[in-house]
């Protein structure tokens, strides 16, 4: 009974808080304090959102953005994962690649877009490459750190049992680094989503970023907020999926630790 009450309170406080925020926003928009143009009331944003969902406009943009993100994440994430695991396991690989990666990692990936447009063309390839680059580094760094934090005793046991190659990878490296790899995947997805939207802002005619751009070009701020809302929901959903994946793949972790993904 006490637990049920505590659970209810856990949801009640934030819900009431956000309802109050929305109500205050709704009634103050258009007054002297809050500009209706730049901060339209939530009801107007909701109305725009419903209209865009009904006519399929928003879903079309969402689908395109998700496709770009998925492709970029799959390419960049998987490459980063493999290289990261290898660099975590092999000192030689680390010594060869680390200086180059340290130099490339801080480069703003978006600044490469014009060059990539020239090299890969104006279509989807150049956009996906930038997104892949943004997903590559967080995944690589976390995968490498994940392997390196596996304790010495585990390595010694593996050596004692002559674990090599795929056995070592399957039994030691992957399970040992998985929590960090999943954290890297979360960072890579969030970074990928941010860059996907930014790339679309700069060079796409369709997609959520392109919708944001058009909203600014026409100063239709309800469309701007409706799109931002969809992007935020997309971010929450991708993190929730990772949280679910975390529960399935690393069930030995404490229950609360999975919440970081949700």
């Amino acid at each position: 009974m006490r637990t049920r009450g505590a659970g209810r309170a856990r949801w009640l406080v934030p819900t009431v808080f956000w309802v109050v925020v929305l109500v205050v926003w709704e009634f103050s928009s258009g007054g002297n304090v809050v500009s209706r143009l730049f901060f339209p009331p939530p009801s107007a944003i909701a109305s725009t959102f419903v209209r865009q969902m009904r006519n399929g406009e928003m879903l079309g943009h969402l689908k395109l953005t998700m496709t770009r993100l998925a492709l970029g994440f799959a390419i960049g994430g998987s490459t980063g994962l493999l290289l990261g695991l290898w660099m975590g396991w092999s000192r030689t690989a680390r010594e060869i690649a680390s200086p180059v990666l340290a130099a490339l990692h801080p480069l703003p990936k978006l600044s490469l877009l014009p060059l990539l447009l020239v090299v890969f063309g104006l279509g989807e390839q150049s956009k996906v490459v930038v997104i892949a680059l943004s997903a590559f580094f967080p995944m690589l760094i976390n995968a490498m750190a994940g392997v390196r934090q596996i304790d010495d005793l585990t390595w010694e046991v593996a050596e004692h049992y002559h674990a090599r190659g795929m056995t070592l990878l399957r039994r030691v490296i992957l399970p040992g680094s998985l929590p960090m790899v999943l954290a890297g995947a979360q960072l890579a997805l969030n970074s990928g989503l941010t860059v996907t939207v930014a790339v679309e802002l700069l060079s796409a005619q369709k997609g959520l970023g392109a919708t944001l751009w058009l909203a600014w070009q026409t100063l239709r701020t309800t469309e701007l907020y409706a799109t931002l809302f969809v992007i935020a929901v997309l971010g929450v959903l991708t993190n929730a999926v990772l949280g679910l994946l975390s529960r399935v793949l690393i069930p030995w972790r404490a229950k609360g630790e999975h919440d970081e993904y949700a």
Binding site: L117, V118, Q217, T218
Partner: protein
Amino acid sequence: MRLKTSTRCMGILAALLAPVLLVSCSGGGLFGKAAPTPAPVTIRLGLLPFVSNTVVQIGIDEGFFAEQGLIVEKTIFKSLSEVFPALASGQIDVATPGSIPALFNLMASGVRVKMVMSLTQHVEAPCSYVALLARKEDVDSGKYADLASWKDARFMSVIGLTGTEAYFLSEALESVGLTIDDLQMEQGPREVHAEALRAGQVDIIFELEPWVTRAQSEGDISVLAPLEPYAPGLQGSTIVYGAKLLDDTDAGTRFAVAYLKAARQYAQGATPRNVEIAAAFSGQDAEFIKKLCWSYVPTDGSLNVPSLMAYQQWMYERGDIDRVMKEDEFIDVRFAKEAVRILDGKDE
């Protein structure tokens, strides 16, 4: 000294012409005295890093604003989407936006922002400020000479199918029964247009100066069609005032006087001094600036109202703006008219 002169002047004639004298002595007109320095007013100015904005920079560098007792605080914005919130919230008082739908929607929303003077107008000239470019061999062979053939070409512009770029194309295509929706349009940053054209990724690119000149610099790209003839006199960009200057007629007029003096200097073209200011302002090489087609900026500040109304109607039909405004809702010509009167009076 000025105070002493004013007092004597008033003492002699006050009884007869007091009301007139008050005006005359304070203005200095009756005895040819210099006007008293007006009270300093700080103007927060939002500029864009385009060569056309050199006009305003001339006003700053040549001291025209200072002459009017205006202290200009300049902010250079990277894009128009940053300008409008700053203007609407009163963080800047004057801006130089291009004629994009957002500007019209901003003004139609009731925010106190109005167009007061012209910056650039796209008029026909020996050189083209706004043009479609294509590979030289295609231009020479006449491949896209027939506008109907544009349907099969791949276009590229910065802003896709909105704004003045789309309007120019729309007006051009109307003569052959096409619309801009019939075009294959790619959107991408200006920096890659020429390379995309050279690499055969697109066939026709839309450019404004300085990109028209830059794209042609290697000799393999040429002007396919100047776009000015398709929407003659189209108002490309304007000087807009926010609430502060719209409500302060004196400061607004002083700004207009300084701006028009600058516009008159800019209209002299690529003089060494103008080139020097433009190069410093835009960060371009002076030799390159000399080659550019200088935009047309009316020296009386007059706006091309019919072009704005026609463009507004087109944007409305495209669904880019929420409503068509009446002229007096978004245009205020008081400042330009008064500034011209003051300047031309002095010039005479």
